[in-house]
């Protein structure tokens, strides 16, 4: 009971502190912008721990964060093997192939306005479809190992990137293209020096959407059959054995991998599109 009350008191105090911090001048410097969300995250963990221990919630329903952390610490080799199988082999390989293919196809269809007008509505429609549904079909075609997972990821990331890239290639203004024409720039010079840089903000938008889709695709595909390693496999078997601390450990690792992947793309975006208004200021 004390734990329960303690966690509620902690939450109230931390929230008051957060409100004070957010409205103070501290919130405007970089440290404050990190400290406030960090404090919020910490509060959630403390309340979670306090409520689970205070109400004595059984571990098969919701394990406390400390137990999950302990599980992560003791099963690092298993977690690492799962990450390699699902994330590096399945998701990243499929992501690179899918985004690369979308990039090339976008440049190809950009040369034909007719194809472009036809493909954009179709691509937009397909991008909104529940594409995860192709997972069972691709598992049937490519077998249980990571190749089928990569194939699912390829299809999932292809259309969002394609649609964004095509929009990006159309983002240059008439005036800019005319200027390149007065320089008597060739098609490739115009593409490399004007249109590709102008398309980058759109491309990165697509790449960011695709990065979260990639991990989802790789994990879903494992529900339809996988070797005895992989995050999706581990989650579904551990749920069956009611080893919920392991499930949460996998989720934490998946969150970490997903955030790191996303963060990496944002970093590259900052380096490559430093000139864009959204990156300045």
């Amino acid at each position: 009971m004390t734990l329960l009350i303690g966690s509620v008191v902690f939450w109230a105090l931390a929230w008051m502190l957060n409100v004070r911090l957010a409205n103070a001048r501290f919130a405007r410097i970089r440290l404050g912008q990190i400290a406030v969300p960090m404090l919020f995250g910490l509060t959630i963990l403390v309340v979670w721990e306090g409520v689970v221990r205070g109400l004595q919630v059984p571990a098969v329903i919701l394990p406390p964060p400390s137990a999950i952390a302990a599980k992560i610490a003791t099963s690092l080799p298993i977690l690492w093997a799962d990450v390699v199988q699902t994330f590096f082999k399945g998701a990243v390989a499929g992501y690179l192939i899918g985004c690369g293919a979308a990039f090339v196809v976008a440049i190809l269809i950009d040369r034909s306005p007719f194809l472009q007008r036809g493909l954009l509505p179709v691509g937009n429609f397909v991008a909104a479809l529940p594409i995860v549904g192709v997972a069972p079909i691709l598992v049937m075609w490519f077998g249980f190992d990571w190749h089928s997972k990569a194939a699912v990821v390829v299809i999932m990331v292809f259309f969002p990137v394609l649609v964004n890239m095509v929009a990006g290639l159309a983002a240059t203004e008439r005036m800019q293209r005319d200027l390149m024409a007065t320089y008597s720039a060739s098609y490739w010079q115009t593409l490399l020096k004007l249109r590709l840089p102008a398309a980058l903000p759109f491309l990165f938008n697509g790449l960011k959407i695709a990065s979260t889709l990639a991990l989802i695709g790789a994990i879903v595909a494992e529900f339809f059959g996988s070797p005895i390693v992989g995050m999706g496999f581990r989650i579904s078997t551990e749920v069956g054995r009611l080893g919920l601390d392991m499930v949460w450990a996998e989720i934490a690792v998946a969150a970490l991998a997903g955030s790191a992947f996303y963060g990496l793309i944002v970093l590259v975006e900052k380096r490559m599109t430093f000139w864009h208004p959204s990156q300045r200021g």
């Binding site: 989802i216 529900f223 059959g225």
Partner: protein, 288 residues
């Protein structure tokens, strides 16, 4: 009209690619059969045989269409083999999760716009929450709600659907509620408008275009969530369950029919949201 021809051309191209791919992929089976029977077949004989297999690697479009038609119109709507029935099960969870996602997204957006502390503490975590592959949570949500004693298979599916659909609503609503510029806000201040009037008469109407743009994304995401929620739960009803059963029992035609039923459902839902948006905009006096 100027868009119809290119779109039809692209669709026609896709059909051609599909047919040739299914000939190529299914041909192997025909050759194997012929070899086992000790016969040789010419390529011209192979083609018709690739078009009507029981378990094709890649069914040609007309086979999928026939299976889809059989599933939708071939039986009573209440039959367990009717895709309409399974689609309805999925649709229920989708709409429930969609509604939940809208409510959560709008409520969070309002509190973020009005409280700086909420903005600074919740917004980063909301973004991080989307990099967590929600499907990793799906099996656990299902077991959890079962343990807690929530009846029925719809609630866990709806939770997953709402988790996927709340984020686009949240992001767009924050943007939309902040979209009135200082001139408009100043005007309302000169009228002596209260905070509530400010919200109902300026911020909320101003956010509607953003809201509907988000809804189109959110409803597609909710459908994905509902389908994914059916996969690990051992569900026997719903489009996701049809795909899973088709995969486990080696019935590719079932899988393809369920996949296309899901695609049609997604298309209908997006069109529906678009229709509601147009009707509402006309009522608000926005020129179409």
């Amino acid at each position: 009209m100027s868009r119809a021809l290119p779109v039809l051309t692209v669709l026609g191209l896709l059909l051609v690619v599909w047919y040739s791919a299914s000939v190529l992929m299914n041909a192997q089976w025909v050759y194997d059969q012929a070899e086992r029977a000790g016969q040789t077949v010419t390529f011209a004989e192979v083609i018709p045989q690739t078009m009507a297999q029981e378990r094709p690697l890649l069914p040609p479009p007309h086979q999928v269409a026939a299976e889809l038609w059989k599933g939708i119109a071939g039986q009573k709507v209440t039959s367990k083999r009717s895709l309409v029935y399974h689609g309805f099960v999925t649709l229920q969870a989708t709409m429930f999760g969609f509604a939940l996602g809208i409510v959560a997204g709008v409520a969070l957006a309002v509190s973020i716009v009005y409280s700086r502390a909420m903005d600074m503490s919740v917004m980063p975590w909301a973004i991080i929450s989307q990099t967590i592959p929600v499907v990793a949570l799906a099996p656990m949500i299902i077991v959890l709600s079962d343990r807690i004693g929530i009846d029925g298979k719809m609630i866990p599916k709806a939770i997953i659907a709402s988790y996927l659909s709340f984020f686009p609503v949240l992001v767009s609503m924050v943007k939309g509620l902040r979209s009135p510029d200082s001139m408009q806000l100043d005007l309302l201040r000169t009228y002596g408008a209260t905070g509530a009037q400010n919200f109902w008469k300026l911020r909320l109407p101003a956010s509607l275009p953003y809201f509907f743009a988000a809804l189109k994304v959110a409803i597609a995401a909710a459908l994905v969530g509902a389908i994914v929620g059916e996969l690990p739960s051992g569900a026997t009803e719903g489009l996701g369950a049809r795909m899973l059963v088709g995969s486990q029992f080696g019935r590719p035609l079932d899988m393809w029919a369920a996949l296309f039923a899901a695609a049609i459902l997604a298309g209908l839902l997006i069109v529906l949201v678009g229709g509601v948006e147009r009707a509402l905009r006309r009522r608000m006096g926005v020129p179409a």
